[in-house]
């Protein structure tokens, strides 16, 4: 049983990392809290569901289209955020809260409130190995998440663009002084975030029922992981994602699945109460 919990925790945790990365990137570069993050994720999930169910596309082909849709939405969102005045963080929370309501209701209008799930039968089978069991779904989730995180790591740490992004995360003004176009970096962060959400959304639709108001959970999760890790620390985000996934798995095993929703909230409140500036990062 322990190995099962561990496996599901790590696999779920890697996926949570993937969800949180988009949020962390956008927040880090632009200092905008995007409370509509979960709604965007669910929107990507819905796009994938619709393509998969109605247009009967193979599941893999839904990713590029979901990314495309998300890119359009995120660029629009970025235009809205760019108009905000100081204090940026608080204003962005209020603004994106409004955006979240609009997206939620648009999804309700377009896709109705029914529960949807992208059901891929082969993902439910699994491998049994020396007494522990892992479904293909968990394996896919784990591998895909790790691959995407690795690619993002390469972009952030091995390319010039990544260097510029990291510089902007660390200090906006100093980055601007060094000749980095901070506004372009902001747009790029939104684009990268959109790609990450577009990749995570269809996967989210496979493991979680989609309905318009389910996004809040993912938002809370992304915020918790980002604050836990501190901004600009990829390794911290992975660690936070795993801790989070394990905490959820253990809660489900020991307290029942109905208490799962409280994990994010309790973790976030504890974090904010004791470490308002993040655990690994010096300064949020």
């Amino acid at each position: 049983m322990w190995t099962t919990v561990l496996i599901s925790g790590i696999s779920l945790g890697s996926f949570y990392t993937l969800i949180a990365l988009g949020f962390a990137l956008i927040f880090g570069v632009t200092r905008n809290f995007n409370l509509a993050h979960g709604e965007l994720l669910v929107l990507a999930g819905y796009v994938a569901y619709w393509l998969w169910k109605v247009c009967a596309l193979p599941f893999v082909c839904t990713f590029p289209i979901a990314i495309l849709v998300l890119l359009l939405v995120c660029l629009g969102l970025q235009r809205l955020f760019a108009r905000l005045s100081e204090p940026l963080e608080l204003n962005s929370i209020v603004l994106s809260f409004g955006v979240a309501i609009v997206i939620q209701n648009s999804m309700l209008f377009l896709f109705s409130g029914n529960y949807r799930l992208i059901r891929i039968p082969s993902l439910n089978q699994g491998i049994r190995f020396h007494g522990f069991y892992m479904s293909y779904g968990q394996l896919t989730l784990l591998l895909l998440s790790l691959i995407i995180i690795f690619l993002l790591y390469i972009i952030m740490h091995r390319t010039y663009l990544g260097k510029a992004l990291r510089a902007t995360i660390q200090d906006k003004e100093a980055a601007a002084l060094a000749g980095i176009n901070v506004a372009v970096m902001g747009t790029l962060a939104f684009c990268l975030g959109a790609v990450l959400i577009g990749l995570a959304g269809p996967l989210y639709g496979c493991i979680h029922y989609l309905y318009p108001s389910t996004g809040r959970e993912a938002t809370l999760l992304a915020i918790t992981i980002t604050i836990f890790a501190g901004v600009g620390r990829l390794s911290g985000i992975i660690l936070a994602g795993w801790i989070f996934g394990l905490a959820e798995s253990f809660t489900v095993i020991f307290c029942g699945s109905s208490w799962r929703e409280m994990v994010a909230a309790v973790l976030l409140l504890t974090l904010l109460a004791f470490k308002p500036h993040g655990i690994l990062g010096e300064k949020l």
Partner: protein
């Protein structure tokens, strides 16, 4: 504690208010007073306005905390706790609804104290995030504590307001929506008066000083955290009472409904659209936006009509950070806030 000349200036400013907004307020008041006669006791319209008035009280209560510059996204926690506390008390202990409602208010004040302990060290965005996360705790507890709350299916058949006998007068809230309407109307008027009183009292002045510049406020002897906690307790108390009223008016509650994001979002949206730093703005926004939603958008787009709330919030944040009432008062020369830059959300 607070510089007395600033109080004088402040009070002078209020008395100098141009007549236009007073006229608007009086007209709104008369409209609401005569509404049942105007609509010939049309049940649907009265129901919508009863609900609008209840939401107005939520916005007013939210704004007691909002005036200190904090934005709470977690008032659904108080609303739901108030609704559940009063519902369970009236169901299980058999107390009169008139008694369980204030009791529910005190219980939510306790919850507000817990939230205050956790959140008071945080400022700005982090305060908002913490309050957002806080809703989950009472919601999940209510959902899972089946023995006390009867679980996620909710409570059905709650007692309504018992009828009142005032001499020869007999007011039956059970069958007459007009009576319920006037009940909520009176409550919102009382709360409006209280909020006006609080805003002009030393507490209100201190809260505004904290909002403008916390360090400077501390320097003149305002204990920012105690005042912020006090405003949160007051806000929680009245939100709890509104929640309790909701439970006995609608007579059906479940955790997803009363702890839903809806009841966190709505007071914030009304307060920001109406003007966070005004006394009546939030209530007026509730009385305009909610009927607009129910009479026009709901019939047009049955699924997804609530996008209106998001849209007005986005519009207000980007183009009218002082809210429409705040803007109007500024144009007429008087606002509670003196520093224009501070009125940014």
């Amino acid at each position: 504690m607070i510089n007395s000349s600033s109080i004088k200036n402040f009070r002078y400013g209020l008395s100098k208010r141009l007549k236009l907004d007073k006229v608007v307020l009086l007209m709104a008041l008369f409209f609401l007073l005569l509404l049942p006669v105007l609509v010939r006791h049309n049940d649907y319209i009265l129901q919508v306005f009863t609900h609008a008035l209840l939401l107005a009280t939520l916005a007013l209560a939210w704004n007691i905390l909002g005036v200190s510059g904090s934005i709470s996204l977690g008032h659904a926690a108080f609303f739901g706790a108030g609704a559940y506390a009063s519902a369970l008390l009236s169901l299980d202990s058999g107390l009169s609804v008139w008694l369980t409602i204030p009791l529910a208010g005190f219980i939510t004040t306790g919850l507000g104290f817990i939230m205050g302990l956790i959140c008071m060290r945080l400022r700005g965005a982090y305060f908002a995030l913490a309050t957002l996360a806080f809703i989950e705790i009472p919601r999940v507890v209510t959902d899972n504590w089946d023995g006390l709350t009867r679980g996620s299916l909710g409570l059905v058949g709650l007692p309504g307001f018992p009828s009142l006998h005032l001499g020869s007068w007999h007011i039956d809230f059970y069958s007459s929506i007009t009576a319920s309407y006037y009940l909520v109307f009176v409550y919102s008027l009382v709360l409006l008066g209280l909020v006006g009183f609080i805003f002009r009292s030393n507490l209100g002045l201190a809260l505004q000083a904290i909002r403008e510049e916390e360090v400077a406020a501390e320097a003149v002897g305002i204990q920012a955290n105690s005042f912020r906690l006090l405003s949160m307790l007051l806000s929680a108390f009245f939100t709890g009472i509104s929640g309790a009223c909701y439970a006995h008016l609608v007579r059906y509650i479940n955790p997803g409904l009363v702890y839903g994001l809806h009841f966190s979002a709505i007071p914030m949206i009304f307060a920001i659209c109406g003007g966070r730093f005004t006394i009546t703005g939030p209530a007026l926004a509730a009385l305009i936006i909610y009927p607009l939603d129910q009479f026009i958008f709901h019939p047009l787009i049955p699924a997804g009509h609530e996008f209106l709330y998001g849209a007005v919030l986005i519009f207000a944040v980007l183009f009218m950070p002082a809210g429409f009432w705040g803007r109007m008062q500024r144009n007429t020369g008087v606002v509670l806030s003196t520093k224009p830059s501070s009125s940014v959300v």
